[in-house]
Amino acid sequence: MEILRWIWRQLTSMRTALILLMMLGLASIPGSIFPQRNQNPMKVTDFVTHNPTLAHWLDKIQIFDVYSSPWFSAIYILLFISLIGCVLPRSIEHVKAIGKKPPLTPKFLDRMEGFAQLDRPTSGALDTAQLWFKKNRFRVRREAGSISAEKGYSRETGNLLFHLSLVLLLLAVAAGGLFGSKGEAILNVGDRFINTPTSYDNISFAKFQGEGDMAPFSLRVLDFKASYDPTTNAPTDYVLKVAAANPIGSKEVLKTIKVNSPLTYGSTKVYLQANGYSPVVAVRDKSGKLVFEGAVTFLPQDANLTSIGAIKLPDMVPQIGMVASFLPTADRSPKRGAFSAFPEVLDPRLLVSVWMGNLGLDSGVPQSVYRVDTSKMQRIGLKALGLGQIYNFGEGTLTFEGYKSWVNLQIVDDPGKIYALVGAILAILGLLISLFTRQRRIWIKVDDRVEIAGLAKNGVPGLDEELSSLRQALEKDER
């Protein structure tokens, strides 16, 4: 029991808390130097292939997952407990002290700052002083021959508010990790999205979050417009228009989503994250029967949206796979071959190489939808198609019917967010109050002479001016 109490005392001392805070700072450094799995998994893979032994050992101490590692969490949780244990008792103390009077005037004022004596005491000195204190909004304690006055009580209030807000902030961040969900969905213009897990391309749930907790809304993508600077080709604006229904089935409302302005439903937000093109194609077999028709999502490769993708036709016999590129504004140079010269669609081209054989879809290994595994296939054709053109590749025909824009929506539910914001705002408020309030005490003692003195916490300036103002008030009275 004694030991426990000792541990608790050590843990909740401010020194420990500060050391923990510094440790949290230090512990966050490796994550900014080594690539992190949750931010950039490709880079981690790269690092591992280049430094296999080093990476093996680094991985043992979670250097690639610093911010979710047990040791990082341990520091975080200890800091949290320490902060509570440190600040809570002080807060209770502080609330208790609200109505209390300032402490008694000390016996010997001459040891204090700005000590001064005035000769010729007057009977009214204490009254004058009290008036001056009242006018300057000091809290006053008057005894027989002395006054003890205090000002700047709100410094401690602000200080405690700040530290308690940090606790709230830490709690909110933790809540974000325990509740909520985060996922992505790629939608073509015209597609409908219903907020259920199956509509996502990928989604992850926090520990205590179930599918039933998802916000019940649906979206229909009406239009997406990207604007580009004609000289630099840099994007200047992205505007996504959707028809949204919340809850599902209610009347649809027109909403606009932009990069910096997500669509919000409670704690769920829908962000516009990325965009690209989906060429619309139709494939017919030798007999002319339609095998496939629709928009195929392609992946942008550069700033001018040169995009690559795959058209897979597992139902044709033999199976057909097409490795394709889409060029929104086609251009050609001897060095680079065909490429896109501008991100908007001005002169679109679909380049396909057609492969025949086994797509390998039933091998059990998941395949990228943007690539064709051509290891068991042979190439039977190569063609560049303009809009509306038809290509006969022997086993059938491919029609380049058009194109659509796609958008990648990131949908995040973080119920802790709002508390984090409140915590942050209160923290700044508390900080301002505590850093800009000067806390000081001033005493006056009257017997055969008048003595005044003061004490400023942390040596904040301005006490001298106040003391001399009080002194002037007293001296004016003397005359």
Partner: protein
């Protein structure tokens, strides 16, 4: 006026500001070095401030003029791109230099700080020189992710905090130099004009305490912006991580002073350390870092 003309005008303003800061630098250097030459034989009046008073005043006048031209340069740069002038590292640097010299002028009005003009003018010159030679980029519109009112709020708060942090650093460094001198038997003649160690110590603390809330606000505004742009308010991106480290370092500095009572040398070192985490974030993470904050082309 066309965008391009505005951008040229901005460049001329920056060049003019550099010329003015150069004059200011020499004026302050003359002030510092010539006030020590003694004409009297008497040991006790071995340096004479009045001789160089004029030079010091010229220095201050040039600092003010330089600030005005730099201010114009920053505003014109923004006008040329139809946005706040904080889109790339060149623009961060000129605005940062503006904040730094602004912090100096502000402190100059409140305290007797003219001596600081020498290190401040050197630092501003170096920043502007690097900016215009190495970091310069033609004026261009922003990519969509940077289009937000939070850009203006977050970046201006961060840049102002940075300017004041670096000023506090300059003072802390001066403290350490003078401290060493005194330890080795006394200040050199030129340094006798500078304030006492205690004043320097207080001053750097005051500056940090003054901007720490602003820095806190800058970090939070960044989180709010990140939330609206990227869907998460905190992702331990390198830039965010180092902003946090800077925050922790300054919090440690404030605590060390207020609650543990560190003063003087130890506090000055801690202040320098905290300031260098800020610089590290700006230089290293911007150039070599990866992450959402690093937009291509600096």
């Amino acid at each position: 006026m066309t965008s391009r003309n505005l951008a040229y005008l901005s460049n001329y303003s920056i060049y003019s500001a550099m010329a003015l800061y150069t004059i200011a630098f020499f004026a302050h250097a003359i002030e510092v070095s010539f006030s020590v030459k003694t004409t009297e034989v008497d040991d006790k009046t071995s340096f004479d401030f009045s001789r160089t008073e004029k030079s010091g005043r010229i220095g201050t006048a040039m600092m003010i003029l330089g600030f005005i031209f730099l201010f114009a340069g920053v505003i014109l740069r923004g006008a040329s791109a139809h946005r706040v002038p904080w889109g790339n590292m060149y623009e961060f640097s000129i605005t940062g230099a503006l904040a730094f010299s602004g912090a100096y002028l502000f402190a100059l009005a409140k305290y007797k700080l003219r001596w600081l003009g020498l290190p401040v003018s050197i630092a501003v010159l170096l920043t502007l020189g690097t900016a215009i030679t190495v970091l310069y980029r033609p004026s261009a519109p922003l990519v969509p992710a940077l289009k937000s009112t939070w850009l203006a709020i977050h970046v201006s708060a961060a840049i102002i905090s940075g300017g004041v942090f670096l000023l506090a650093n300059t003072i802390a460094a001066t403290y350490l130099i003078l401290d060493r001198m005194e330890e080795r038997g006394g200040r050199s003649e030129w340094a006798k004009k500078l304030p006492t160690l205690e004043v320097l110590d207080q001053l750097s603390y005051r500056l940090v305490a003054f901007v720490f809330p602003l820095w806190t606000f800058a970090v939070i505004a960044g989180a709010i912006w990140a939330e609206s742009a990227w869907g998460r308010y905190w992702g331990w991106d390198p830039k965010e991580t180092w902003a946090f480290i800077t925050w922790v370092a300054y919090a440690a500095y404030l605590h060390a002073r207020v609650t543990v009572g560190w003063r003087g040398r130890k506090a000055a070192w801690l202040c320098l350390f905290a300031g260098s985490t800020f610089l590290f974030n700006y230089i290293y993470v911007n150039i070599y870092g990866t992450g959402l904050h690093t937009y291509s082309g600096l």
